[in-house]
């Protein structure tokens, strides 16, 4: 059993060495635009993002109302261009998931899978694709077959059948990890198509022990002490029950993503972050922009504009200016 252990010995969760000026959590249009402006103002900026197609813009099939982009392009393509532009000004992008933060410490600490990062200022731009509702049986069977981390728990399912629910790059990458252990991975994609780059989709479908179900809604996780199966509604065939002993859930919804904040910032009744006119939260040096605020129009151009505004007020603070200065010349 133990032949699966990864014998790596990197000190990836020790104290961080480099202190960034700004860390932006979430690289959607809000975060990427903030990074573009921050980097252009010569602030050392790191954006940590889960994946190009993990956010609202990244998974949008076609975007037609972004000013200056008349041709038909996908949300992922538009976002890729925004990120490239920010990188050209010196911003650094890291594909990783932020697990938790310490926003009261100085510098602020951001804990991700690949390590701990620290910065003078933090910008929260995680959007609002979080799940609002759990599937029946999910809470009761957490840790008894229900998991949100295949890399953590995959080895417990050696030779067993498991299900993965989701449709993003993250869900596919986790499913690919599981193919090393599970006898069969039932991939339950809630939409008619997977929302991930082509090469990942190919890699998934090429696995002999993966069965892909498109338009599959996870209705219930079955079992009393332990997961014994899942009840799934298939658009084409109606309801089926799959006998699995593990279920890995990567579904999305419409709630602001704030779980990683661990209650360090006040939320509105509807779970949204709250800011003032300069996008400052209740904690000094912590800003929030984009759909995670949800008190505005949900459009990419609005999210991008908020990123720009926040970046300028951050620059004002870090450079100790009295007023926001717009540099037209660069």
């Amino acid at each position: 059993m133990a032949d699966s252990l990864e014998l790596a010995f990197a000190l990836n969760n020790a104290a961080p060495e480099q202190i960034w000026d700004v860390i932006v959590v979430g690289g959607g249009p809000a975060g990427a635009t903030a990074a573009l402006y921050l980097a252009r103002a010569d602030l050392k900026t790191l954006v940590i993002d889960r994946g190009l197609t993990a956010g609202a813009l990244g998974l949008t099939g076609r975007i037609a109302n972004y000013p200056g982009v008349p041709e038909e392009i996908s949300g992922a393509e538009l976002l890729y261009r925004m990120r490239q532009q920010a990188e050209r000004f010196g911003a650094t992008f890291l594909q990783d998931k932020v697990q938790s933060v310490d926003l009261e410490s100085d510098p602020k600490l951001v804990f991700a899978n690949t390590g701990t990062y620290s910065a003078r200022v933090a910008v929260i731009a995680t959007g609002s694709m979080g799940r609002s509702q759990r599937v029946k049986g999910e809470d009761e069977l957490l840790g008894r077959g229900v998991s949100y981390c295949a890399t953590c728990d995959g080895a417990f399912f050696r030779g067993q059948e498991v299900a993965v629910a989701g449709n993003t790059d993250e869900a596919i990458e986790e499913a690919l990890f599981l193919t090393r252990f599970a006898s069969r991975v039932h991939f339950l994609c809630p939409t008619p198509q997977l929302k991930a780059p082509e090469h990942l989709v190919h890699e998934l479908t090429a696995q002999p022990n993966v069965k892909l179900y498109l338009g599959a809604t996870l209705r219930e996780i079955l079992g009393t002490d332990q997961v014994t199966g899942v009840r799934v509604n298939l658009r084409s065939e109606g309801e089926i029950v799959l006998p699995v002993s593990g279920v890995f859930v990567y579904l999305q919804g419409g709630r602001p993503i704030t779980d990683f904040l661990g209650g360090q910032l006040p939320l509105s009744e509807t779970g949204c972050l709250q800011v003032d006119a300069e996008f400052r939260t209740a904690l000094p040096g912590v800003y929030a922009v984009g759909d995670v605020l949800c008190n505005h129009i949900k459009q990419a151009v609005v999210a991008a504009a908020e990123g720009a505004s926040a970046a300028m007020s951050i620059e004002k603070v870090l450079r100790r200016r009295k007023q926001i200065a717009v540099d037209w010349s660069k």
Binding site: L5, L7, F9, L11, S147, D153
Partner: protein
């Protein structure tokens, strides 16, 4: 071939300069060089040797589990590979910090942190937690089950270690779940981190200090512990 690359060795060396008091690692091993009895004993020993060489405040003592039975019992070591992390020097002390299984992957950082923690004993727990710990009436044994590929696990393990450093009644073990399948099955571990306190209190995930303490303080309530024991017997 060494397990640590140059860069990691340098980073660890630098991290260990923060040690104040000396630390002794007591490693239990046996059946090295291919025996099935302890699959990762050889690697764990090599790892401990390489780390111990990085600070003159750190020493390693290697013991054989089947021969040094008394030493194993005295340190509460009942499975291998095991590392007991002990305060050494003028005032030696056992805070009850143990690692069972190889501390690889994300747990390598935990291993280094555990050495620092035992050395300087700065637990950074909240005043409320310390008040609660002062009310403990009986010994508390915390076992945190982990896998090397779990990014959330080090936080859960280090919290348990900090409690052990703060209270003489608390002992805390990191247990690598894949190497000890009998324990994973006894405590029904199918996801990590999973914290097991005095056999019957089970906690999923890396929970904040306050929440863990709320669960932990149930050990003072004998009637509740009895209820939990019965519940576990029936499942």
């Amino acid at each position: 071939m060494s397990l640590l690359d140059d860069r990691t060795r340098q980073e660890v060396q630098k991290a260990l300069t923060a040690m104040t008091e000396p630390v002794k690692l007591v490693l239990f091993t046996q059946g090295e060089f291919g025996s099935l009895e302890c699959e990762y004993c050889r690697e764990t020993r090599q790892l401990a040797e390489e780390v111990a060489a990085l600070s003159d405040k750190l020493t390693l003592e290697v013991r054989y589990f089947s021969k040094d039975i008394e030493a194993a019992q005295a340190l509460g070591v009942d499975k291998i590979p095991a590392i007991a992390v002990l305060r050494d020097g003028k005032a030696p002390h056992d805070f009850g910090v143990r690692l069972f299984g190889i501390p690889s992957g994300y747990e390598f950082g935990t291993f280094v942190q555990s050495i620092l923690l035992v050395s300087h004993a700065k637990h950074d727990l909240s005043p409320h937690t310390l008040e609660q710990l002062a009310q403990l009436k009986q010994p508390v044994h915390i076992q945190v089950f982990v896998t090397p590929t779990c990014p959330y696990c080090p936080r859960a393990v280090l919290l348990a270690f900090r409690l052990a450093v703060a209270s003489p009644l608390v002992r805390a073990d990191m247990v690598e779940a894949i190497e000890f399948p009998h324990l994973s099955s006894r405590y029904q571990v199918h996801g990590v981190p999973r914290t097991v306190i005095n056999e019957v209190i089970h906690i999923e995930g890396a929970v904040p200090e306050g929440l863990l303490m709320e669960e932990l303080m149930q050990v003072n309530d004998e009637a509740q512990m009895q209820r939990l024991r019965e519940l576990h017997r029936s499942t």
